[in-house]
Amino acid sequence: MRVLLHALPWLAAIAAYFLMPEQLPLLSSIAIAALFTVSLDLIVGYAGVVTLGQAAFFGAGAYTAGLLAQNGWGEPLSGLLAAAAVATVLGLITAPLVLRSGALAGLMVTLGLGLMLYEAANKAAPITGGADGLQGVEVWPVLGVFRFDLYGQTAYLYSLAVLFILFWLAKLIVASPYGLSLRGINGNPRRAPALGVPVKARLTAAYALAAAYAGVAGALLAQTTAFVSLDALSFQRSADGLLMLVLGGLGSLYGALIGAAAFTLAHHALSEASPIFWQFWLGIALIALALFGRGGLMGLLRKLLPRGAGS
């Protein structure tokens, strides 16, 4: 029973591949959004550090992979690794700035750093293409075999495979003693040091880990769409990520998957009607989630499913 529940999202994702062959780009964007949401869940949901600037790492990863491919190195897997490395370094550099001061000042620092990076990419048009975006990204076949096709088959399966691997790595990490210490810090940051938990070091590692995840998500977007725009770094992306996270349920990795899927599908359906309409209902959803509880969709599911399933 439990094994089946754990397999369910992935079976659904594979079924979608066969059932919705015209919607593969949408499905890819769900997988990428899910990975981004997992990254936010690690830092916000588990470690308890609220950030308004996670898009900085997503964008850094996207531009890293995009620039590599644009400049003649289109090998996708090494592109992902490079993106992860750049995002990790950026995370390690900025973590002390974010964690140094109190929660509120740290929150604003994440916002400021995110905007700084956006503005830097905007002004560095000769390298990034500025507002026109990064053109001429050419990605080689995955593993030298699977060419990125027009229908997005390779793009989807590639994104899904990366999500699958990193999702289970995240599952492992949150269940480890390290993951437990993050939950302890989140629950009571003043008590944790009295148990000998080195709070700063643990949070720095979590921040960098989440940055790496976001960087890989950004790189996936760059590689599967062969394009990077400033949107990758935008405040909107950070805010969307937070919404996907709370929509699915904070501190639950399956929630991150569900939230990303629900959000992306709703976005697809509503913004076709009108972008203003979408923005309005997005705002209403945020307000409702903030006022009426954090469980999100995962919280609802937990009430319906047997105890212990999917945490």
Binding site: L97, L104, L250, L282, I284, L291
Partner: protein, 288 residues
């Protein structure tokens, strides 16, 4: 030299404007410990009210400003009573989500009603053009901004230091629990203060149409500026945010004038650096 004086004047004027726009936020953050990223939305509302009255209904400028202030204050009061009051004491993530949601909703409504374009206003004759002082041309509207916002700042300072309401407000800022214990109606003080801050933001938004522009993206576009003023200025006085706002205004105008290729980067960098250099003051209070 003349350019430097013009830049300085423009900088001071936009700093004054920023002060009026942001001072309410320093209260929300410092007094109520609420991360209110939607503060700029009240400025936007004031801006639109002013534009509609002035351009469509033909109301003169000064009454339009007053109406913008009152409309934003009223909206602030209603939202505080209905929604914000539920967020006091909640954690920052809830407040962030809520206020971003509010920005989205108000932006969508503004877009639906008024369109996405930049709004323009026709200033009255007596505020247009320039005056020559000592051979240097100074914009009349800039001078008007400095005078009006200066009066507002002085009024706030006086009100906070000298009046009974100011004393109660300071007591509530210092220690809400003790103030409640002394029988102060802390909830009512919060509501009134929130409405006052929102009203001032509305005034700032209306005054700012000519200087900062106005479109549905206004609340997010200037969010960082408001946060810098608050983070640097502190909450327990009027003078702190005032000085911070003037510095920011001058820095911003000077940056755009002399190093336009760097653009808004200057402000974001300043924000991060200042937050790191001075994480205490207001933020130390609000941290707990």
């Amino acid at each position: 030299m003349a350019a430097a004086i013009t830049v300085l004047l423009d900088g001071v004027a936009s700093g004054m404007l920023l002060f009026v726009l942001s001072v309410g936020l320093s209260v929300t953050l410092g007094l109520m410990n609420v991360v209110n990223l939607a503060h700029g939305a009240f400025g936007m509302v004031g801006g639109y009210v002013c534009v509609v009255l002035l351009s469509r209904a033909g109301v003169p400028f000064v009454p339009s400003l007053a109406a913008a202030t009152l409309a934003a204050a009223a909206l602030g009061w209603v939202l505080e009573r209905l929604l914000y009051v539920r967020l006091y004491g909640r954690d920052h993530l809830d407040q962030v989500l809520f206020s971003i949601g509010l920005v989205f909703v108000m932006g969508a409504v503004a877009d639906w009603l008024m369109g996405a374009r930049q709004q323009l206003i026709q200033l009255p004759e007596w505020l247009s053009g320039r005056v020559e002082i000592g051979g240097i041309g100074l914009g009349r509207y800039r001078i008007f901004l400095i005078l009006l916002c200066g009066v507002v700042a002085a009024g706030l300072h006086f009100g906070l230091v000298r009046t009974r309401f100011g004393a109660r407000l300071r007591a509530a800022v210092d220690d809400g629990v003790v103030a409640r214990g002394m029988g102060l109606p802390v909830g009512r003080i919060f509501s009134l203060t929130f409405a006052l801050g929102s009203g001032l933001a509305g005034l700032g938004g209306a005054l700012g149409v000519e200087v900062l522009g106005l479109d549905p993206n206004f609340p997010l576009k200037y969010l960082v500026y408001f946060l810098v003023v608050v983070a640097v200025g502190g909450a327990n006085s009027v003078i702190g945010p005032f000085v911070a706002a003037i510095l920011l205004g001058v820095l911003d105008v000077a940056g755009k004038y002399w190093v336009p290729q760097v653009g808004a980067f200057v402000i974001y960098t300043a924000m991060v650096v200042l937050l790191l250099a001075r994480p205490d003051g207001l933020l130390a209070k609000a941290r707990s």
